[in-house]
Symmetry: C2
Subunit: 276 residues, 2 copies
């Protein structure tokens, strides 16, 4: 199955567009996990077990592992999801981008070493920097288009031939790079008008939408702006608002509640909620 086929299947199975971003920050872990050698894995495992029926994807952010030299716990986390919840997609949030020969190595890192279903990639270096990812036809390549951070205006909003750069990027990817139908775009949730503009350009291409929750995106406007005609088309990601819903020993239950709330807030606004 291709990434998009798997995505459609899991959207229907869990009736959820929610993705939980795994940004494990040991300083924010509950006390009982603070002096555990594999605390990052244990934290992730508890979050995953508590939310697996509520999500379409998990999105581990590799920087949180790399900063700690904890690549092994990233491997463990991904293997745990794959073994126990094989339908759930795993997106490696790595925002890689380099010349072709190096990009091949990054594609191996994501798709072979970690074995993820999709990876986030930066488009600034152009097609040959993205092609090694696209050649994995059954995997998703999720390209940065318009991100959710304040500085996104600095480069992404520069005007190119009468439209902002991010719209041009969306157009290039949609028209030229998506020949294997395995491109997705990252579109931040902070400015819904951008979701509307990008949705018009890319048709039903799935969008990864981070920035919900701690980053402040409003769920209703996001869903109404970005959904496809069948009420899907988005992987809506929340990280800190779910992971750290409680700092106590009940963190996993609190994460479950936050994920349920988000799923339901989204589903209320979807054009047609697919029920099993």
């Amino acid at each position: 199955m291709t990434f998009n086929e798997k995505l459609k299947t899991i959207w229907e199975k869990t009736n959820s567009l929610v993705c939980v971003g795994l940004d494990p920050e040991p300083l924010r872990f509950p006390d009982h996990l603070k002096n555990v050698s594999d605390s990052i894995f244990q934290f992730n495992k508890a979050i995953i077990d508590a939310t697996h029926d509520l999500v379409c994807a998990y999105k581990p952010q590799i920087a949180y592992f790399s900063a700690k030299g904890a690549e092994n716990q990233l491997e463990q986390t991904i293997a745990y999801i794959k073994q126990n919840y094989p339908d759930i997609l795993v997106i490696l949030d790595a925002k890689r981008g380099d010349i072709g020969s190096t990009a091949k190595k990054y594609a191996i890192e994501a798709f072979e070493r970690y074995g993820v279903d999709a990876v986030t990639v930066n488009p600034y270096l152009g097609y040959d920097s993205v092609e090694p990812f696209l050649l994995y036809k059954d995997r998703g390549t999720i390209l940065l288009c318009r991100t959710s951070n304040p500085g996104a205006v600095d480069i992404q909003d520069l005007e190119v031939n009468g439209e902002p750069l991010y719209m041009r990027v969306a157009r290039i990817i949609s028209e030229s790079w998506n020949t294997n139908n395995n491109c997705l775009l990252v579109v931040g949730a902070t400015w819904p008008s951008q979701l509307i503009a990008i949705r018009k350009i890319v048709g039903d291409m799935p969008l990864l939408v981070p920035g919900v929750g701690a980053q402040g995106g409003d769920v209703e406007t996001i869903v109404k702006s970005g959904q496809t005609i069948d009420g899907a088309g988005m992987i809506i990601s929340a990280s800190r608002s779910v992971l750290y819903a409680s700092s106590g020993s009940n963190f996993a239950e609190a994460a479950r509640c936050a994920a349920i709330t988000l799923r339901d807030q989204i589903n209320i606004c979807r054009k047609k909620v697919t029920s099993k």
Copy 2:
């Protein structure tokens, strides 16, 4: 000492603008290193010992390590340089780029975990994605401006207000982001006219120039196009043409010869060669 001060010191000490990119590819190693458990480190160590008096910097490309799950050998390689040749700068080629909270983690990865002097960063996400790196005032943040790969035209050459995006990026970094005087730019060696344009914008900001050697950049035009008035201003990087100058057991000697040749080709064209 700041990165730029260290760079000036090592430029003068070795009388060399050459940087050797460490892109270790085990399939290309000589036979005697092929079944060694730490072959990547052993290969790098041999290259470093053979070239340390000929270079201003080493630039390990992290993707080559990550694809193999060999972060430990990256740590070993960097520690080896720091212990044995402490004046030589180490640039982590990682091309990181993410929202501020994640960029902090990537800055920790580069500057604290690996302890490098500088790291390459992608500017597409804007200022707050770069700031966590810039806050390490004694380290260098080397921002992608115009890269050396064929696909660089796709996004970087798009016209923004009458000039290509990469020139606008150079202007933004030079005018707004470089308040700690620790920004550098990556400018590929494939089109010297771009080096000339960028040099005009950024004054004497040091440029990291990859694409010499295997990627085909011509040394004379690069040096004449990119040097500052004192005949420096560039870190000129070659990887494959040095590392794999020979595939036999004499690979380190062959790398030394290739590095000498490159250093001398560069020095012949410099406005003023500083001699000790």
